[in-house]
Symmetry: C2
Subunit: 587 residues, 2 copies
């Protein structure tokens, strides 16, 4: 079965031109050269590459997972060739600075490109995604010497990067890490076992740069005693030779999905110890990880968008071409299954939610771009907004991805349960996204503790104020559908406000109550923020005289569907948020 | 990893003794001999068999699916031996009449037993479940001669049964069936291809009895021209020999889950034609299928209960034994992950919902039992109630099963995504339940058209009246948690009433609007009916002086959790039901 991927370039262009992304970055000199035409050309090229080179790998990698051979991990069929094309095409490090060999694109534009890679194959795209995380760590915190030795080859993709955090006894709780780093000359020897290491080993490149959390001998207990080390798979000796470092992949996990992405158990120092180099200061490892986390979590949220988009496309295509039964929504009564009311409901729910998710993820990335501007106050405001939105993007978009891929399967009926359709793989692949890079509960705790309670709701009040501005613009419009959405968004914003007030009124005095419903609160925030973005999209579509009526009607339709089918039902979550904790009194 | 199954016998006994099942069947003479002690003994034996014989097969069958060999399908390791033990133990045909060799148990009691089989292995339990469907068809509609030849060996399980409905072009729409049946002597020759045939072929028994929908040469077009045929895999000649019939499994599907259950493509009449016998009257096939459907759909709903129960158990066990991070719900702050508020929220949501699902499924089965009583009017009332509840049980319990198995995975964190944990298999297995035996949309359409519109909401008004009685009893209780649940259930019942009124006010005049939101309506009905059952459970627990305080507290806790975390948030669905159709005006 052919599973073509049709990149949603039009929606991306619309967002960039009229809603967020480039349209909000015009005052930033570093992006002066990124014209709409250039952006469009990049998107078109990326769409072609995603469709022609990456998407065809995806079904085979599900059936032929990466496998552990004698001396290294062998990736799925075609991965090696595709990766070489990927880096030769200059697709790695798109948003890295030009002095490191990157293209210097805004993160918000590279988000659109990355969405295409993830839609084409989550498994394949994880490799450059992890490298990107390593680049952030090295560029942000490593010494000039380490940067000189590793940065350019990471940016070019000649080498890839990994993140080594989790240990068998230390999952969400990194304080429990026990991997040791013993000083020796100008480096350290590392001993320990890391699990769940994405692309911990592979045959795509000659070298792999592992970033590893470990403890120095004299380190304090808990999270304040964790340092970050750079541990290459191959060590370059002073004589210019390369020798194998004492770090090996000792097993691969059998996972529910993303079979093409090797998830490795990595053993450091089974012999003489793995040579590693301290990144930045000792005992600052967790702090460095946190600075990278915004980026990584935003990318995983984007994976949720991407896999949902792909699943929606497959469902739409199937519903459009599969004839079954007499249909209510077609004159004559013999249409395709898209003309059955419930199939239409599912498609509208999926399509409108995916668009809301994409817009919200792009908005968060734009705030990250804006946080690099010269005006310190404006930069700080943008950073605060990005920090607020990112757990929402990660938590909400990934939970929705599980729902949306499941809806796509349902549209397929019995065929959806047959692996050949490809929808099962998307559903299984999507299921990792609310788990890794911090589970939804971890996102929700971060959201409540660091983003709501720490500043006493100030950042959130700012977001709510922006939402109310959109409510007013919708209410003031002459379009009845926009007015309806305006009323719905007003109700949604009021509901969110009352939930925020509740959290602030309880906070430390009753932490159990607050954290008992942090996930429903994160989800509610996602649903309301999604409505805010679709409201902005619809307003922009109607305000621009250059936009054709078909596009305008499409935006109105999706905004209306989202309001009626997604946003309003979700407000029921507020009951759990405001009253759920009462259950705790009976335990 | 050991995946012991711990059958929820205590909950089953409680339901049977105090809420529904046996406690409502005391006036029926045919069940006079089924004492509480006998029922308990049966449940204990079944639990042992499920745990010792069936559950151990489940993980292996996921990795080693049934496979198509040269001349027949080979089942997963251990299936053949387990099946022989199953029928030798007399577990087949528990609710069949004694004159056919069955045990004559109430369906509501055999439901409890069947839940155990499904919890232990959905894949394995599908085989007797399909046989049970065939028994209903043969006993209900076949001639005395066919019954004499096939019924006892189906009831004993010496032979198994299948249902052959779907064809490549005829899925949900059976009107499109094209398999032909040509008369010849005292039998027919069948020609055609059927797909998605569960246990269409296997090596568990010597013979398989296929029940097949096909068209006679002179049959009218559409659903009125479909007849039902019995097509054995092996034909017994008049000389007492057995010869292979012209029906073969030509392929097995590669499915997302239930790998141990062979899903066959069956080819009838590739050579001389498959010999088949007409069941009942010509052109009545679909009607006969409908009479069996209540049974089959209830069983699939029960699968949803069963797989959810198993997943909940695994999650509870993991949360109870996995230490991670400092916990808020435990004094001292170093508990297990069950002491993290969000994990606790997930566990309470799962546990309370599963209990509501089990109680509701049992209530529907009890109504089926009551529909066999001598008092024709009472029997008719019970049948109407069963007809109303069954699409709710099928649709709601199976959709919840997908959610609950997913929650169970989330409780496991990263480990949940690793196949060895076993939770992935449950999640993948559960995903078929909202698809087969009629998708959720098919259930919702049946619910709206045949159960709500056909009698102008009369049956539903009866259910709502029963719910209001429970609301009043809860409000009148002296227990504050019950009073709270009473208020919530009152609000839920009012909401459901307004949705019913909406559907009745639109009905035929605006069928698109009605069917656009039939699935949300079915789900809302499920959530409210679940609350009704948990309200009855809690009232019964508090009313009985014989029930210990721990059990009472458990019922109060679950009723409270369900009200706060499940029922009230679900009321948001009413918005989609009442307003969702407005989207249609913009398409």
């Amino acid at each position: 079965m052919t599973l073509l991927y049709d990149a949603p370039i039009e929606d991306m262009r619309f967002l960039q031109a009229h809603v967020t992304g480039l349209s909000r970055l015009r005052s930033l000199p570093q992006f002066e050269g990124i014209t709409a035409d250039l952006a469009h050309a990049i998107l078109e090229e990326a769409a072609r590459f995603a469709n022609e080179v990456i998407a065809p790998l995806n079904p085979a990698s599900d059936r032929q997972p990466a496998s552990l051979q004698a001396d290294q991990v062998q990736t799925s069929p075609g991965y090696r060739e595709a990766y070489q094309k990927f880096i030769k095409g200059g697709w790695n490090g798109l948003d890295c600075s030009p002095e490191t060999g990157g293209q210097g694109l805004p993160q918000s534009l590279s988000m659109n490109v990355n969405e295409m890679w993830h839609s084409a194959s989550l498994s394949f795209a994880l490799c450059p995604m992890l490298t990107s995380g390593a680049i952030h760590a090295v560029q942000g915190h490593a010494s000039a010497d380490l940067q000189a030795r590793y940065l350019k080859r990471l940016v070019s993709g000649e080498w890839t990067g990994t993140m080594n955090l989790t240990e068998p006894q230390a999952g969400s709780d990194l304080a429990a890490i026990t991997t040791r780093a013993v000083p020796e000359d100008d480096h350290y020897r590392l001993f320990g076992t890391k699990i769940f290491i994405t692309y911990g080993d592979h045959d795509l490149t000659d070298n792999i740069v592992h970033l590893v959390l470990a403890r120095l001998p004299d380190a304090p207990a808990g999270i304040k005693g964790i340092s970050l080390f750079l541990v290459p798979k191959q060590i370059e000796t002073t004589e210019g030779q390369t020798v194998r470092n004492d770090v090996v992949c000792t097993a691969l996990e059998h996972k529910v999905g993303i079979h093409g992405s090797p998830t490795a158990v990595m053993t450091f120092g089974d012999n003489e110890g793995a040579i590693g180099y301290l990144v930045g200061q000792a005992n600052q490892g967790l702090f460095y990880m946190f600075t990278m986390m915004n980026h990584a979590r935003l990318q995983v949220g984007l994976q949720g968008v991407a896999v949902s988009q792909r699943a929606f496309q497959l469902a739409r295509e199937y519903a459009h071409t599969r004839r079954q039964g007499s249909t209510l929504l077609k004159t004559g009564g013999q249409g395709m299954i898209e003309d059955h009311p419930d199939v239409r409901r599912l498609l509208l729910t999926m399509e409108s939610t995916v668009q809301a998710m994409r817009a919200l993820a792009l908005e968060a990335a734009t705030e990250l771009d804006l946080s690099t501007q010269a005006d310190a106050q404006a930069a700080q405001r943008a950073q605060v907004r990005a920090d607020l939105l990112i757990p929402v993007v990660k938590g909400w978009c990934t939970e929705q991805a599980v729902e949306i891929t499941s809806m796509a399967m349902q549209v397929h009926g019995g065929m959806g349960y047959i692996e050949e359709t490809g929808i099962g793989q998307l559903w299984r692949d999507a299921r990792i996204t609310p788990i890794y890079e911090g589970t939804t509960a971890i996102q929700a705790n971060d959201f409540v503790s660091r983003k709501l309670l720490r500043d006493q709701g100030q950042a959130m009040q700012g977001l709510l104020a922006d939402m109310l501005t959109v409510c007013k613009a919708l209410a003031d419009s002459q379009q009845s559908m926009l007015q309806t959405l305006g009323l719905q968004l007003q109700q949604a914003t009021d509901t969110l406000q009352s939930c925020l007030d509740f959290i602030l009124s309880r906070q430390e005095a009753d932490r159990s109550a607050v954290y008992f419903t942090s996930v429903p609160l994160l989800m509610l925030t996602g649903f309301v923020a999604g409505g805010w973005m679709l409201g902005r999209c619809a307003l922009a579509a109607m305000a621009e005289s250059t936009i054709c009526e078909t596009t305008q009607a499409q935006h109105l339709k999706l905004a209306s569907a989202y309001g009626q089918l997604v946003l309003m039902p979700a407000l029921g979550l507020s009951h759990s948020i405001l009253h759920g904790h009462e259950v705790l009194t009976h335990l």
